[in-house]
Structures are given as C-alpha cells and as structure tokens.
C-alpha cells in the first residue's frame, strides 16, 4: 500500500497511521510519503503539535482528551507501533524540505528516506492500494 500524506493535521494523520498499522497487522507493506503540509508531522515534535484543521483547531485539546479516554494511541505511539512492525516505511519529500526550509536534522529518526516524487511513484506503481490523504 502506498499513501501520500499531504496534510499535517490530526484528522488526516490519524487515518493514515491507522490504515498503516492495520495493514502491517496483515503483513501488508506500507509506504507513507509525507509531502507539503504532511511533512511538518515528521519534524521533531511535529506529531505532538498536530492540531485539528482550520477553525476546529480550538477543539484539539478536547479531541485529544477523547482519544485518551477511548484508549486510542497518540500519533507518536501510532508511529512507533508502525515502525515496530517493520512493514511501514516513512518517506520525506525532498522538494517540500527545500520549500519549507526543513533540514534532515530537523526530522524525527523514524524517517527511512528522503525521496522525490518519482521514487515514490516507482513504489506506488507496484502497490495494490494507493491513497492520497
């Protein structure tokens, strides 16, 4: 499975990680390509800082409370779970890094590779499922 993660807000990051962790439970290799605003999630502290989108951002604290009550893992825990499975690969978009002035050392160590869209396309062409989230 190949997923383009285009947004750094909680509402988009959760589904991406939930699908990736479910896929890994099925031994399905999953490749997550973080691009544009999605890349901010891979900056150190980025997952913890992720908020709900637009005006809903003021409800972020409440949502995080609900997530905790429901026993749903945090985004960082979801990422750790994905990486632990060994089936989930994390890619940072090289163009976005230049655009957003993000350096390699700004990224969390869970990032497997910094790649361009072509490299990701090569992966996506071989995947049975391709998603844009």
């Amino acid at each position: 499975m190949a997923i383009i993660v285009h947004s750094g807000t909680m509402d988009k990051l959760y589904p991406a990680f939930m699908l990736a962790s479910s896929a890994s439970a099925l031994d399905v290799e999953t490749h997550l390509f973080f691009t544009f605003w999605g890349l901010s999630a891979l900056k150190k502290g980025g997952l913890e800082a992720a908020k709900l989108p637009g005006l809903m951002r003021i409800g972020t604290g409440m949502m995080k409370g609900r997530i905790r009550e429901a026993g749903v893992p945090t985004l960082s825990e979801m990422l750790a779970m994905c990486k632990e499975s060994g089936d989930v690969k994390i890619y940072a978009c090289s163009t976005t890094m230049e655009l957003m002035k993000i350096r390699e050392e700004d990224l969390i160590p869970e990032v497997d590779e910094i790649v361009g869209a072509t490299a990701f396309m090569a992966i996506a062409l071989d995947a049975d499922i391709q998603l844009f989230i």
């Binding site: 939930m18 962790s21 479910s22 890994s24 439970a25 099925l26 031994d27 429901a70 026993g71 749903v72 893992p73 779970m81 499975s85």
Partner: protein, 84 residues
Amino acid sequence: MMKGMVDEYVVNRTLDARGLFCPMPIVKLKKAVKEMADGEVIKVLATDPGSKRDVEAWCRKTGNSLLEASEADGVFTYIIRKGG
C-alpha cells in the same frame, strides 16, 4: 471427517483487548500470534464491535484459523489457531 464435531483445542494464550478500538485489537493479536508456535491457540477478548469483521478478515488474510466467535454481555470472544 466427523460431521458436527467441535474442534478440540487447548487455549495456550489469552489476549485481553477489552476497551481497545481499531486498529489496536488486531495489532496486538498480530504481535501475540507472531510469538506463538504453529497449531497453538489464542483466546481473544474484545469489546470493539468492529472486531468481529476485523478478526475474521485478519484470520482469512493471514492464513490463521478462527475456530470460534461468540458474544456475551458486550464482550466478543474469539478462538484462533495459528496456521491452517
């Protein structure tokens, strides 16, 4: 083959996934089964109503056998044997 005969099994391991929601029960199930030997049986307790279809799908896709699935008082119980 004897018709109507219930598969006999010994539960080797129990996974309590009560209170957890998708994808956690399946992620934990996968992890537990990975540590088991072929033929061993795991009993899973869950409260997520989505777990019914999830456990079935997981067993089907990973080549494990769902021996039993039942529900009582909002708790789902699954008996799964590793392998076919």
